[in-house]
Amino acid sequence: MSDLTTQSRDDPLGRFQRVALFVGAAGLAIGLIGCCFSRAQFFNAYLYAWFFVLGLPLGGLAIAMLHHLTGGAWGRAIRIPCEAAAMTLPAMLVLFLPVALGMKWLFPWADEDLLARDVVLRHQSIYFNPTWFLLRAALYFAAWCVLAAVLTSQSREYQRHGDERLLRSMRNISAGGLLLLVALITLATFDWVMSREAHFTSSVIGFITSVGETLSAMVFAIAILPLLTPRDPELREFVTPAILNDLGNLILTLVILWAYVSFSQLLVVWMGNIDHETPWYLHRGIGPHATAWTFVAVLVLLFHFFVPFFILLSRDAKQQFLILTTLALGLLIMRALDVYWLIAPSGADVPVGRRHVSVLDLPMLLGVGGIWFYVFVLILRRRGPRLVAREETSADEVLAKEGGGAGANAA
């Protein structure tokens, strides 16, 4: 907090934080006004905004754990913001409240009339019912928050003292934690996304969200680098073309992976052509007739895959700070559009093929996003002025790399 006063004059992060708070408050206010007119529109818009924003802390947690496991210089440039993002999870739990209140307008299984008419929904109601739904959400958040808190506190401790015993502990937590994280994101996606479309089941959808959320957090952490470098000269020097190259390759990998899992689901559903699966894509503009959602899908295909793919193939492009951070920002916007395409077209009150777009969608996104960014910056500031994570190499590994000290075992 102290450096807020000393640096406030030319501190773009502080300026952005204030703007975010203002935009967030305004967005939520518009949402609340809208809520008086249409509960369904408000809650659907809210779920979208909340679910997209949730991807940033969860993805941040995933990146932090991946980096503890694999190491590499790239992670040192973005891990502290990722950990700060993960520490916003308690705030996301508070922001879950409207979702809990709006179940009736969000999920077909929470709608008594639909439930009475639909045999499959009745079958599913052992699993999808309000009580279990809330209990599961509590469980997911408890696990995520504990994981984020333990890992971040150890990482802070390591940042301060460089104690090697912490390395082992962080790696062990990350190995199990990543497993738990993916499993819980999968179940959460079943709850919050898949169950909105009655009868649709997809075993890969949890994988799609896991990859998408990791990508969201990755591009977010890279997109805010221009806000962070003025605060920490060490970070400015650390982000060399070599680091940018690695970060660019990681974005490229995640973009390809996202395209791959998304297309896999589409292809399996398209080939199978089964009546309880195809509505998912028909609602999303992929089918014999083009709708407005077709346009969104094409936009996502072009700017979430092809354009970044070809830009990131070029070494010259990804090694430039300005190009890479701009591209990351663009991809973050495309992530928001992709999640919109994922969430908005289905809903409880929706007879097949109607509605879904609301004037509240954008205000809600800015509202939840703004508030979240405010909290994120608060947490990031508490981490102190240093933004480059300490290198995670133990003495053993240094020895092994230099090849010294083990000659006795040769031959």
Partner: protein, 455 residues
Amino acid sequence: MTDQVIQPGHTFATVTDKIASIVLTRPIGRGWLVLVVITGFLTIMLSTAVGYLLAVGVGIWGVDVPVAWGFAIVNFVWWIGIGHAGTFISAFLLLLRQDWRTSINRFAEAMTLFAVACAGLFPLLHLGRPWFFYWLFPYPNTMKLWPQWRSPLVWDVFAVSTYATVSLIFWYVGLIPDLATLRDRSRHRVGRVVYGILAMGWRNSARHWHRYQMAYLLLAGLAAPLVVSVHSIVGMDFASAQLPGWHSTIFPPYFVAGAIFSGFAMVMTLAIPLRAVYGLKDFITARHLDNCAKLMLVTGLIVAYGYSSEIFLAWLSGNEFEWYMTTNRMGGAYGPAFWALILCNVVIPQSLWFKRVRVNPKTLWIVSLVINVGMWLERYVIVITSLHRDFLPSSWGMYYPTIWDWATFIGTLGFFLLCVLLFIRVLPAISIFEMRELVHETSLAPAPAAAEGGK
């Protein structure tokens, strides 16, 4: 010590001489000869089985309606999955700059080629009239017909043939500098001529290396997504159908993970004896075993994720056919196979969480054998249990492999091992030039005094 990728004391000269000597000067051992005879015998058994099939037809196999995809498809998927680890090791790990891959990539790539050769045999024979295989390709024909582009079986043709071609190119490009080394080191005229022709006049020029490295990196960049696409398409062979137990959106990525899982198991199954017999413990160290074991653990967990989400969603979907298939898979006629696969692929691999299991060659070798069996059973369960109970009870049936099924399968095992045995005697099983690079990078190199100390 366990963290090292090459034992200290080696120089450019010692790694060159040691690896090249296996090919050039080492006398033929009795053990090697015995194995060649055994695997040669199995290869003859394979030729007999194939010859009889060509003469009589696929009726000699156990396939019939409703289980028209028997051993042939099980073995196809199993073999091609094994091949994928080779590409994974050489391409992905190169892109990730994992220097430990160097000493196992050549060997793993060779394994890929032989496994793909075995894999390709099965769908070809399963065609019924293999001599018309070229009908699968688009070519100008008198009836103006084209392949059926909407069929995943046609995608398979393109995927597998592209995969075989690109793997061969990647392997050959990696071999060129080592062929030049063998050409320069060989003392026999025949060796010099053969290796000389294959090396194409490579002279270690910096200008050549410059383009070579770019080409090699690009090939790695191409092979990495290729390997994912190939097994995804194999997964699509199943998932495209509407059959319960096959139609699941997770199939493409989960098949890829399963392929790499079984492939690493095969790499370990072969590399552990190889390093013991040919004294390559300096190059294939405990660190390699540890890393491969970790990758097996990760891919095994992805596979377990696939199993559980399939089972859970079969229940959640409320579809009676899906749920019947699931219960039948677990408790029906083939139930023991299902539980054996869970034991082999999910339960036993959890022992790899312990470092003691990962770095002990014996335990790791046993676990990798178990995984090989488990992954074969997985494909068996997927193919057979899904098919043998159709939607209509009137078309239910059982599948029993015949002696010819077994002869063909075991025959390909022999053929594969024979290829591996011949390979380690005629080509360097470890990439020599990359080992020199590794020696340089780990700065163990110059000190001429240590030159003779290595071995």
